[in-house]
């Protein structure tokens, strides 16, 4: 290898190395840091009087929306409100007695099972119980 070719290669290698040293911190900077979230297993989702039979509310379960439903018979159901299709927030439709996602017309039953439309998986079910005036929602024991 003559001197010119050697120098050409040295310049290429040095340039690539310098580029990598400049790019590496930039790429790392672009990726947001992982901020640990407190694991939420139990929240007070609302008050008993707040929900009439046939109505629902969206409540924060950790950083995600949860869906609390009061059925026509007065009992409570709770599940994740995050549609398993593309992550929109689902809602309860009292007239049809189903959980519906408006974004792509996904439908779930009151057990959270995907029954029609594009959702590929059921919604995560939560346990619900009433403590005095509070409706308490917990991660299902099996989850």
């Amino acid at each position: 290898m003559d001197r010119r070719r050697f120098l050409d290669w040295m310049i290429r290698i040095s340039g690539t190395t310098l580029g990598a040293f400049v790019l590496y911190p930039v790429v790392r900077y672009l990726v947001p840091p992982r901020i640990p979230e407190a694991v939420t297993r139990r929240v007070v989702a609302g008050k008993v009087k707040e929900l009439q039979p046939g109505s629902f509310k969206i409540f924060p379960f950790g950083s995600q929306p949860g869906l609390l439903i009061r059925t026509q018979d007065g009992s409570f159901r709770a599940m994740s409100a995050v549609c398993t299709h593309l992550g929109c927030t689902a809602q309860y439709r009292g007239a049809d007695r189903m959980v519906w996602c408006a974004c792509h017309n996904g439908v779930y039953d009151l057990e959270g099972r995907n029954v029609s439309g594009p959702p590929p998986r059921p919604l995560e079910r939560y346990d619900v119980h009433v403590e005095g005036e509070d409706v308490v929602v917990e991660k299902a024991r099996t989850s």
Binding site: I58, C88, A102, H104, N114
Partner: protein, 358 residues
């Protein structure tokens, strides 16, 4: 005095060379010449976007606590704020519409044939950037529709095999749609995308200038020389008539149908009924909506995303897959593919506005 200033400018800026360059450009005249106007129209609307975007920047505040309020302030308190914002939003839609007409007409006229493959690639890149401008800008008012559109859009990115999870966190600035996402999208919309778009636009315009206008194969085959028109001033003046009409149309749309602001984004309300993305994402939205939950054991959503990605890749590589002469059975197949794509996109976009039902 004025003559001396003009002379000084001509000498120092090399205006003679620029003038020669401009006079060199010729536009072929044939029955498809109408389609040559759409690139200039897209460029004009891009100019409107830049001007109105800069004006909006003077009042807009990019944080989850203030973004919605600042846009409301622009719409209700700032003199002609409603006009500037409405023109920005309408012009964005018209620009993507014009870019689509430009792209499809270039495809159908086989303008991507040798030596214009790079012109096609740079144009496709610009089209992708326009969509990215639309997607990132849509979130900035921080309203309910924007929130869910961004949620769905980034989730689609997240479902892409291998790089999806990384891309999702990169786009969102975390795991969820938060103020961090808004700040990021603002940065993309006003700094990163404009910088890239300006560079690619420069390359695209240079290539158009270098290779001249493409003449469709069927016009070339007529055997007679194609008459030409000078770009400066004759075609440019015709272009400007179109731009004036577009400006009038924009003013009319902004005045009669001012762009709505909607409700402020709230992560704890359900997606509103009738939610749909901007029209240019409609065909993809409708495709994903109509797919069943599972196809051949795989999630329908994944199949849809891979299918759309592959279709986009085939479209991008058309200059290398089609017959390089633009003639023969392979060229006819590609023309048919172009028609099929136009029909598919039109029908599926219209379906969105019919509630997803044919």
């Amino acid at each position: 005095m004025i003559a001396r200033v003009q002379e000084w400018l001509r000498d120092r800026l090399g205006l003679d060379e620029l003038q020669q360059l401009a006079e060199h450009k010729q536009i072929p005249l044939h029955r498809h010449t109408f389609w040559y106007y759409w690139g200039g129209m897209t460029l004009f609307l891009f100019g409107i976007q830049v001007c109105t975007g800069i004006l909006l920047l003077l009042y807009y505040r990019a944080s989850a606590d203030e973004a919605y309020e600042s846009v409301r302030f622009i719409m209700t308190q700032v003199s002609f704020g409603w006009l500037i914002r409405s023109i920005h939003s309408w012009s964005a839609n018209l620009m993507i519409g014009a870019a689509m007409v430009h792209m499809f007409s270039a495809f159908m006229m086989k303008a991507y044939r040798r030596p214009r493959e790079a012109t096609w690639l740079s144009g496709m890149l610009l089209f992708g950037l326009s969509m990215a401008f639309g997607f990132s800008g849509y979130l900035l008012p921080w309203n309910q529709l924007a929130f869910f559109a961004t949620k769905v859009g980034t989730d689609i990115t997240g479902a892409v095999p291998v790089v999806g999870p990384f891309m999702l966190r990169f786009l969102r600035g975390g795991d969820h749609i938060t103020g961090a996402t808004l700040t990021r999208f603002f940065g993309f919309h006003v700094a990163i995308l404009p910088a890239i778009a300006t560079m690619i636009l420069g390359v695209h315009l240079y290539l158009v200038q270098r290779h001249g206008m493409s003449v469709p194969p069927q016009v070339e085959d007529q055997g007679t020389p194609v008459p030409q028109m000078k770009f400066v001033p004759h075609f440019l003046l015709r272009d400007m008539v179109g731009w004036l009409a577009a400006l009038g149309g924009l003013a009319l749309l902004a005045a009669l149908l001012p762009w709505e602001l909607g409700l402020k984004a709230d992560p704890y309300v359900p997606a509103p009924a009738g939610i749909k993305p901007e029209w240019y994402f409609g065909w993809m939205f409708q495709t994903l909506r109509m797919l069943p939950s599972h196809i051949a054991g795989l999630e329908g959503e994944l199949i849809g995303i891979i299918g759309i990605g592959l279709a986009g890749m085939v479209w991008l590589l058309a200059p290398f897959l089609d017959d390089p002469t633009g003639r023969g059975p392979r060229a006819r197949f590609w023309s048919g593919l172009g028609v099929a794509a136009i029909v598919y996109i039109t029908v599926f976009t219209l379906l969105v506005y019919r509630g997803g039902k044919p």
